[in-house]
């Protein structure tokens, strides 16, 4: 595809703009920002990736992964202002998940230890982990606020902070994982995953593409579970004072 042909795809940006304008959806600004950001970010990433792949140097690979983690933290932390220290909690969560998944993938020689594989898979893991983190935080703060009475009751009877929000914690972990599980149940039936489609378009053998996609599916299931559980257990305590009192949460 040439840059010229690519520019023709801007038609797909004009359609939502037009719809938003005629129906007064008020999404023009966000649509333009989204289109601009994705263009700039992806082109930049393209050049960076080319450089990293060519150099194939461990330091550059690690820097690249670190950059992804920092960007994911930056994105998710705004949702978690109610949780003290959310920035480093997200950071720890993403790092732990990245290290664990890469250890399995590389340690068992499931994928070759090349920049291409490490960075692509890390991107999917961290990106998914970020979405999960946002889902979890939103649900958790809302659950805690709605069931404040129950938590206060448990505390008043001499329960620990953990006991007082255990139900809300488990519910939020469960709820945040459901979309991942559900979407994977219909994978291949309703929609071909983007990555697999990309590979097939680029000329890869469909069966190979499927094998690789399965790896990603399983990887993301694991990522989803680990993100919510890790973040949940790192965060719940900071909703309480040192005198074990449930603090007020500002849910946006």
């Amino acid at each position: 595809m040439s840059w010229m042909t690519l520019s023709l795809t801007l038609i797909f940006v004009f359609i939502p703009l037009l719809l938003s304008k005629t129906l007064n959806l008020g999404l023009e600004r966000d649509t333009i920002v989204a289109a601009l950001r994705s263009t700039v970010q992806l082109i930049a990433v393209g050049f960076v990736l080319k450089f990293v792949f060519d150099s194939e140097h461990a330091v550059f690979i690690m820097l690249m992964v670190l950059l992804m983690i920092v960007a994911a933290v930056q994105n998710a932390r705004h949702k978690g202002k109610a949780i003290k220290g959310i920035t480093w909690k997200l950071f720890v969560t993403f790092v732990v998940i990245e290290v664990l998944t890469q250890t399995v993938l590389l340690g068992l020689h499931i994928v070759p230890a090349t920049a291409q594989y490490i960075i692509s898979l890390s991107g999917m893991v961290i990106g998914n982990s970020m979405v999960l983190a946002i889902l979890f935080i939103n649900r958790f703060t809302a659950e805690v606020e709605t069931h404040r009475d129950e938590s206060e009751l448990i505390l008043s009877l001499g329960g620990t902070p953990k006991q007082s929000i255990n139900r809300q914690l488990m519910k939020s972990i469960q709820a945040s994982m459901i979309p991942t599980i559900e979407s994977q149940k219909t994978i291949g039936l309703v929609q071909l995953p983007g990555m697999m489609s990309g590979q097939i378009i680029a000329g890869a053998d469909p069966v190979q593409a499927v094998q690789f996609q399965l790896l990603v599916v399983f990887l993301l299931l694991s990522t989803a579970a680990m993100t919510s559980v890790l973040l949940g257990f790192l965060s719940y305590r900071s909703l309480f004072t040192e005198r074990m009192q449930l603090m007020k949460i500002d849910v946006e």
Binding site: E150, L153, S156, G158, R243, Q245
Partner: protein
């Protein structure tokens, strides 16, 4: 007020508040309250709604902390004790009888469950009987009970913690007169036989008159009067006079 005299005449006060203030977002809810709840007595805590009575009980149970001042439990500063032991020692029956998800039996078992223990069926039945509820309710969804039934379950639940000090927040507000009498009898008996110190918020002045041996009158976040019936009736405070209107006899 007769803080000094009662301080010397009743050396043991289960709860003592020393210049306690509490507020949220720069709004004062409790304003420099100093006073005490005598050991082994039933104190009736009265005052118009919004006076800060519920907030004061939550301070005593450790659900919230004063922004200023000290609270002493049996002479020991509350901040020096673990929040969990404070909350078991100073039990509270909350105003709106919150229920956790589950059956009535689940709710009754809660205080024990929090300590890793279980409530036997016999204990559950005996506990229901104590507050005048039929044991057939044990398997019902706690959130589907009537207001009055919830209040009774809520009282029974807190009693299972065997607290030495009991804080009761309008616990008979949704009960019919005969149930109310049963609960009053139960609390008075607990107080007499087990020497449990009681602080009882009520908006019902006749009830305060029946059960109260000591009184606190709060208005607008302040403790305006403290003492026995005579002290309250002789109060110089205009708000107290207007509120009590000679009902205490």
């Amino acid at each position: 007020m007769n803080l000094e005299t009662s301080n010397t005449s009743t050396p043991s006060c289960a709860l003592v508040l020393d210049c306690v203030s509490y507020g949220v977002n720069h709004t004062d809810i409790i304003k420099k309250v100093s006073g005490q709840f005598p050991t082994g007595k039933i104190t009736a805590l009265i005052g118009p709604s919004g006076a800060g009575k519920t907030t004061l009980l939550k301070l005593c149970n450790g659900l919230i902390s004063p922004i200023e001042g000290e609270i002493y439990i049996d002479g020991k500063r509350i901040e020096e004790q673990s929040p969990m032991s404070v909350r078991r020692h100073v039990g509270i029956v909350l105003q709106n009888s919150p229920m956790v998800q589950g059956t009535v039996q689940d709710n009754l078992a809660l205080p024990l469950q929090l300590r890793g223990k279980t409530l036997s069926d016999e204990q559950a039945i005996a506990t229901m009987d104590r507050v005048g509820l039929p044991s057939s309710l044990l398997t019902r969804d706690a959130r589907e009970l009537s207001g009055g039934q919830k209040q009774k379950v809520s009282i029974a639940r807190t009693l299972l913690n065997q607290s030495k000090i009991l804080l009761l927040d309008e616990i008979t507000a949704s009960l019919d007169p005969s149930s109310r009498q049963e609960i009053e009898d139960l609390i008075v008996k607990l107080n007499e036989t087990e020497k449990i110190t009681i602080v009882w918020i009520t908006h019902n002045l006749e009830q305060a008159n029946r059960i109260g041996e000591y009184f606190w009158v709060m208005v607008d976040g302040e403790l305006r009067e403290e003492g026995n019936k005579e002290d309250v009736n002789a109060s110089e405070d205009e708000d107290v006079k207007r509120f009590v209107k000679g009902v205490l006899s």
